[in-house]
Subunit: 334 residues, 2 copies
């Protein structure tokens, strides 16, 4: 049905191999021959069948990207950056939504899905390091996010501890002393939440401010989670003059709820977040937050993964890269 390389070869009066050479930019082709082939391609409207190429070459030129859900702004923005980074290197991205479910994460790691991609960018949310290592095949894998940390796995990291400390220090510098943290458990030490919480604690300690576990509230990292958490905190009669949401979504939810409940932000209560999604700039008041280096993360993750895919190193050293962060001071906590 479709036009094949064979048709082109016949039309141009050359062999299959010559057409292939032209398509793959093999250097040593007589210009006249090349032109004839190109003309035939044009005339017949030939297009490479990428499926056939993949089967033969064993490469799909596609990267898998496993994340919870594209409706979460941070992931959507990251996915956009990753797709651009991949595209500029000749790769496409196949997104898989895990919905934050272990089954889906496992399926993405080992299922047939893997045969469609040359490597995987994976933002684990439920699976642990060992499970990932067990489930993952031999194909290259680069982790993003910090729910998992393991010296055996390639990953691109955010400076969670340092960035969270910077946010906290900024709040402290603004005179806040009772800073509520939304999105972590008091005892947590690992994963994004634990690392950010430890940065918060470190900043408090540096400033000689006492840590109060009553100000640490667990909640989902979503707008409605932040809203509920801050409402609960107010309800409980807790005394606080600032809120640090461990991501922007929940910080924005908290901000919204505070305003609904008649609190003045930042006069009575300052609010800060983490991620610097675009929405943060346009909230009212605009949200103070920290940019974790999203574009850099996307670039480096794609670069590293492609290096693994195309590299011929036998047993490469594990690489764990870190992106630079930047505090963004806005109206919600000046």
């Amino acid at each position: 049905m479709a036009v094949t390389m064979n048709d082109v070869a016949k039309a141009a009066g050359v062999s299959l191999k010559t057409v292939s050479n032209v398509i793959n930019n093999y250097e040593f082709i007589r210009p006249a021959t090349k032109q004839r082939v190109l003309d035939a391609i044009d005339e017949l409207g030939y297009e490479t069948n990428l499926t056939a190429r993949s089967l033969r070459s064993g490469k799909t030129k596609m990267l898998g990207l496993v994340l919870a859900d594209l409706s979460i702004p941070y992931y959507a923005e990251l996915a956009s950056d990753i797709m651009k980074a991949a595209w500029s290197r000749g790769y496409r991205v196949l997104v898989e939504q895990s919905g934050n479910e272990a089954e889906h994460e496992k399926a993405a790691l080992q299922g047939q899905f893997r045969s469609l991609t040359d490597g995987l960018l994976f933002i684990p949310l439920t699976l642990g390091a060992q499970q990932i290592i067990d489930a993952a095949g031999k194909k290259p894998l680069v982790l993003l996010g910090e729910f998992v940390q393991d010296p055996r796995l390639d990953m691109v990291l955010i400076q969670n501890h340092e960035a969270a400390a910077a946010v906290t220090t900024h709040l402290l510098a603004g005179g806040r002393r009772r800073i509520a943290v939304l999105g972590a458990d008091d005892g947590e030490t690992t994963g994004s939440a634990g690392l950010r919480l430890s940065g918060y604690k470190a900043a408090l300690a540096d400033a000689g401010v006492e840590y109060d576990p009553a100000l640490v509230v667990r909640c989902e990292w979503r707008r409605d989670g932040g809203a509920a958490a801050v409402a609960g905190l107010l309800d409980s009669g807790a005394d606080f003059d600032a809120v640090f949401g461990l991501n922007d979504a929940l910080a924005l939810g908290a901000l919204h709820e505070l305003l609904v409940l008649g609190k003045r932000v930042p006069e009575e209560i300052a609010v800060a977040g983490f991620d610097d999604i675009e929405e943060a700039r346009f909230a009212s008041p605009s949200l103070t937050t920290v940019a974790p280096g999203r574009a850099e993360i996307a670039e480096r993750a794609v670069e590293l993964l492609i290096e693994r895919i195309e590299g011929n190193m036998a047993a490469p050293e594990v690489r764990q890269l870190q992106a630079a962060f930047e505090l963004r001071v806005r109206k919600s906590a000046t």
Copy 2:
């Protein structure tokens, strides 16, 4: 390198065909044989090579989705819904970002990319109907959004006119008489902007309120576009008591800018949008808007496209479906 069906066949002591039968759930297999094959699959860790299957069957079980950019919330939320709808029907989605550029849109329509998908969901932003028809191959294509309307093309539509009229009528019912429209040109009549503008005009006419072209401001459908547009309007000394942003992003940008400039919303100026992205609910004040039926659009578009892909109708009638909309009244315009 990888385990193939042949390996499984040998291990199970059957022919290739039998393995294929088991994998594809062919009914008439002796249970014992089937079990032996399944055991072998399990033991060897066999996984179907989807690339090979695609080459042979001519189907990739992938749908292409072409949109401007995933960092735009409405598209991200729509993409998420579309991926879920496709997934539940056994299809994957390959997203292509056009960046709102004609070259990319054309490439997505006709390039090699097409060979990776069985059909395309396309949100055109720059290409016209004729260009789309010319560029598109013979593979199924379903359009989303309303920048293009043409009786020859399958599409799933938003009730732009009616929904915009509903928003406008709501603002009028709230006593507003000078309603600025952001995101359209005065003369526009086609595309999402034109259709929404015409709904606005119709609602004004119904209420006996005069249409004032000076209140119609063209701007990009993004947060910063809306912010700039409303700032320009205030600058020009225009007199208005409400703002209707033709999508939520620009309405939220306008809302933010109004508050920055010290206007009280909704007391002095009411604000309404279009799309009902999640962010709208958590803006402060929360944004009145209209939900265009995103989930329904996703479902029906996927359903229609798959029907085209799998259907065996020779020359099916063109189908143009419409989703139901719903006004969401919130604080920005009560």
